[in-house]
Structures are given as structure tokens and as C-alpha cells.
Symmetry: C2
Subunit: 79 residues, 2 copies
């Protein structure tokens, strides 16, 4: 089973990496860019076919390792 | 207009960061994880409402700055 995990900074948390990308895009001539937020994306392969267990496991993985839940949100998609 | 950009390593390209996450997940007791691929995710705000122009611009941004097209694939989603 394959899972996709999206990790984004919570609203209000400063995103210097996103700001740097935004400035670079402006310098390249893309003046229409009004905001960039940088996040993480992960694809995880799981041996189990049990969707409920997979969801519970992935939620725990995010809380324990993958996301910093103080400043980040995460979203899990199962295929 | 808001765009989401997903950048992933091409198949066959080594992903040491993904491997490190995989090992850490095993160490935390998630033995069912058989693979992790690490990618990037970006949310870009654009001033334009012209979808065709936005798509063309985003494609150019990916090629020029956001993705390394030698080793990475990118996918653009417009909202």
C-alpha cells in the first residue's frame, strides 16, 4: 500500500525558505508571484493491506518523526 | 490563483534522505515500511486569473528554478 504525506507550515509561521524562493522568482521576472510556502512531500510504501492500521500507523509516524506538530500540519492520503 | 507544485525524484535516482527516514521509522518500530521517497511540495500564490498563462509561467518556474529536471519530476496543480 502506498501513502502520500504532505507536510506544510501552519498559518502564521514564518517561512524563510519560501520567502527566498519568492525573491528568486521575482528576480527571474515572475512578478506575478505574491506568495510561496515551502512544504515537504513524502511517498511511503507499507507492507500491510489493512487500511485502518495503515492510517493509524502513518498518523503516529507523522507525530513521532515526520512532522513537527508545533509548527507544521500534515495530511495523509492512502492509495 | 493558488498553485500546488509537487517535486519528486525520478525513478532510479538514489534518495539518501528517504533512506534515512526509512531507517528511523524502522528504529521506531514501524517494521512495515518498505520504502520512503522524499520530495518537495510548494504552494504558490499568483496575481493572475488567467489559467493558461499561470500554467505556462509555473512550468517555466519549475524548469528554471524549482526543480532539477535532470533528476526530478514535477507536477503542477491549479486551484
Amino acid at each position: 500500500m502506498k501513502a502520500k504525506i504532505y507536510i506544510t507550515l501552519k498559518a502564521g509561521v514564518l517561512d524563510p525558505q519560501g520567502k527566498a524562493v519568492e525573491h528568486s522568482l521575482h528576480n527571474l521576472g515572475f512578478e506575478g508571484v505574491t506568495g510561496v510556502r515551502q512544504g515537504k512531500y513524502m511517498e511511503i510504501e507499507l507492507a500491510t493491506e489493512d487500511k485502518t492500521k495503515a492510517e493509524a500507523d502513518l498518523d503516529e509516524m507523522c507525530k513521532k518523526l515526520l512532522a513537527n506538530i508545533v509548527i507544521e500540519n500534515y495530511r495523509i492520503e492512502l492509495e
